[in-house]
Subunit: 369 residues, 3 copies
């Protein structure tokens, strides 16, 4: 697995670089917990690896090579929070690499009904499996799991598939991979050179909607701050504005940003627009009912102002903030984004288990003429 970024910055309250160093010790496997863990080299290598897996996986012979890579390892998907998309994306990624898995998705079928602590559940899982992929409602739970695992004699790695309101690092990786592919033209550039350039410099990327409560926006912002010259545009209802801590994080990097309130007048200047739904399940007392969220929708009427190279992203599920009739436009990248998630997660798992070298070898031997 690539080295970590030593110079990671974070809000004073939590010092990421110390946290990351504590999480990922040299004598232990690599835990994927925070988006801030990923430096540019790592992002570049993962995107490259995802492309190679995709290319190799397009042939039957290549697919069967991939299936041998992790057939000797087993993954546990500990998903104690409703999720179809992320869950299936990870299972598909495991299947691409031939890695058997099992899942726990509901506390009621588990030993916790008999009074077991969740920490003990994690310890038990670490005896049966070689990787834990988890999704959890509790803030910081993935980090806690990493520390529990580091304390066991047999330590296995954990991947954060979304925890609390803050972090969703694998979504951030697939999002930046999708943006890279939209800007870098995968058809004409060789994989080895595809992700080395800062294609984000001079580009305007808008985040639209419920920016206060969407963890995907926060996580992707951490990654985009690695790319000087990118311009971030945060368009949201005043009540759902992006958090101050993120703005401070951006402020410490060479990245320009703007807070705005109106989508139609700004869409024409965007190179990418990242739409998000209203996260009203986090409402305390129905406070978002009074918001006219449809003002932050991307509609067919705006299509006339789209740049030809615009990339429309959405972490899904969508409601009315993204018109279905846009699906057939070349600018709609959100279905590709879904599939990119599978390849990116396969790349991440491959890298954690050090089979990335075998994939690169295979790619160069068979596909790189």
């Amino acid at each position: 697995m690539p080295t970590l970024d030593a110079e990671v910055e974070a809000p004073p309250a939590m010092d990421s670089s110390h946290r990351i160093a504590a999480l990922n010790r040299n004598d232990k496997p690599f835990h994927v917990v925070l988006a801030q863990q990923f430096d540019r080299t790592t992002i570049e290598q993962l995107c490259q690896l995802a492309d190679m897996i995709r290319t190799v996986g397009a042939s039957r012979q290549g697919t069967q090579f991939l299936l041998t890579l992790l057939s000797h390892r087993r993954a546990m998907l500990y998903f104690i929070q409703p999720s179809t998309r992320t869950f299936l994306s990870f299972t598909a990624a495991c299947q691409v690499l031939g890695m058997p898995y099992n899942s726990v998705r509901d506390r009621s079928t588990s030993s916790e009904v008999k009074g077991e602590s969740e920490d003990d559940t994690i310890r038990v899982l670490s005896q049966y499996f070689d990787l834990i992929i988890m999704r959890h409602p509790a803030e910081g739970f993935a980090e806690h799991v990493a520390h529990i695992l580091n304390d066991m004699p047999r330590t296995i790695p954990v991947i954060n598939g979304g925890s609390g309101k803050d972090q969703h690092p694998t979504q951030a990786l697939l999002d930046i991979y999708t943006l890279f592919r939209a800007f870098a033209d995968p058809e004409t550039t060789r994989i080895e050179r595809r992700y080395m350039r800062n294609v984000f410099s001079g580009k305007t990327i808008a985040f639209v909607g419920d920016l206060k409560r969407g963890r995907t926006v926060r996580s992707l912002t951490y990654l985009l701050c690695r790319y000087p010259g990118v311009r971030l545009l945060f368009i949201s209802p005043p009540e759902l504005r992006i958090g101050e801590d993120i703005l401070q994080y951006i402020g410490r990097h060479s990245v320009e940003y703007e807070i705005a309130d109106d989508l139609p007048s700004r869409i024409g200047e965007c190179d990418a627009v990242y739409m998000t739904r209203l996260q009203d399940e986090h409402d305390v007392a129905g406070e978002s009912k009074s918001i006219d969220y449809y003002r932050y929708a991307l509609t067919c009427e705006m299509a006339k102002d789209f740049k030809p190279g615009l990339a429309i992203l959405h972490p899904l599920p969508r409601r009315h903030e993204l018109d279905q009739r846009l699906d057939s436009l070349p600018q709609a990248k959100y279905w590709a984004q879904v599939r990119n998630g599978m390849w990116m997660r396969a790349a991440l798992i491959a890298a954690i288990f050090n089979v990335d070298v075998a994939i690169r070898d295979h790619y160069h031997a068979y596909y790189n003429f």
Copy 2:
């Protein structure tokens, strides 16, 4: 996949041949949605293929050959309706062919709780998987899914594992396969010649019980209408009589039928009897409580009247309409019918992905002396 039957007929309200043509376009994968799609050649080829898979799968070497066939594809079982039998039958069929799968069985764990439309769920699934097998309470849902998939840039096939009250095409295929095996004597005829003859000509096949609401009876009738000379006997309480549309469909084919009300006096003339349970979960206001359903039960007392070659089928689950003490008779074919389902579904999936040729080759190379 075999060609479709161009001359399919259907009640005026729905023109099957147009529907089927719209569903299964030449530039798209083959969708299995309606029982009416299957002509005699297709039925014959699928039965033959199921026998070959069964034969090859009886040896360890053969099983391991089968396991390589679809290891590079992935299936999604989208089963939004309680089902054990059909679900497990399809998973076993996938496992026979080495095809990894995953499932969604409950809307509450899915993104729909976050407000996603079911159409979007299908679109997302199509990004991770290479086949959708579905079961759904809504009438016509499988057909709707086929059209959604045809509109995606990456189209994958759908198999209808039961939708609404009308269609259950794979059950019909395994039922006719079971009848074929009962009438054709698989022990003495070579696989290649086993299903070419119309073994149904001159045979009397009785359907007994809740014929109004059982979709298996309707679907199997569509297939039997391909075989001129078969005689269908519909025995049911007057309140649960077979639908008029089905009788009209039969009327348009060279098939004789009779409506009857008494099982004991007719059992002696039957070559096959297809028992069904009371589908009282479809009752609107408990209307079937007043029916003396036990009058339509197959009991031990009737066994003295059975023809020696009688085939007793039941789609299961059974209640009291089929006496457990009949299980040990040679005429009881319903457990074999269950296992036939696994082989037939494996044959269907193999045909959809064009690996039927490899199976035939392997069969001829190793088993056909």
Copy 3:
């Protein structure tokens, strides 16, 4: 599979040797239903096989050999009782041997909602799968399943993963395997000789806590009675004392036992201590609320009295009866016990399908220098 112990004894009410003979007939596959089925030779061979699988499974080449062993068979985990640990242990065991599986964990998704009897469900499952592993709340259910399966034309084996309050034979096997490894020093003895000696002779093994209702204590006691010279110490609140039938069973073997009530004063004489939680889910009217269960806890304060070679076991989940701070002591064997369960269950499944010979061959060819 090894031969059964013909001289098994049991309380008068149920004659185990007759029961076992009826269950396991020569013309049928081997069913694992009762702990009493296992004689010393069988226990020894299974422990040896578990060690071989563990050793072979430590290398990538060995793991891939194991994956080929049962890829041509399919297991059904019919787990109609909440369970994470046992369920995942069995699925991991299947995965170690490359055996595909599926599960039914909830009656509400099954055909039983349509009125199917559970016996018919078992009959249907026997058509799709080659092994049923089950866990069930009903007393004697596994035995009932074995008889149903013996009556089918195509008989498959069943493994009892816990049924009713009495039997949990695979837990007993993994427990005795863990004790064996603690006493026999796996590092210095060759696998072939590791389990032949009665290492239990002269050893004191304490069972502590809710001995009345824990089925693991009962099942392990059946196995330990095979080893003359072992001394059993049952420490529990008077209300939760070990059952009279077990004491009578012990009395018929050359095994000494003692009933005690105080843990702190006895811990110093123990070679192994088997902790159990309060099973208050079996309370009829909250009767265990008045028990001071913490008096039967193993605490850090007692560590000063531990023998250096003490083995602490716990079937898990634990509550407060086993202090978490003990986890880091070398005497704590309960996490290893969890992992031992996976290897022992893999050994058992391998033996049932007669691939134990292939494992022994492979082990001797590659690992036994």
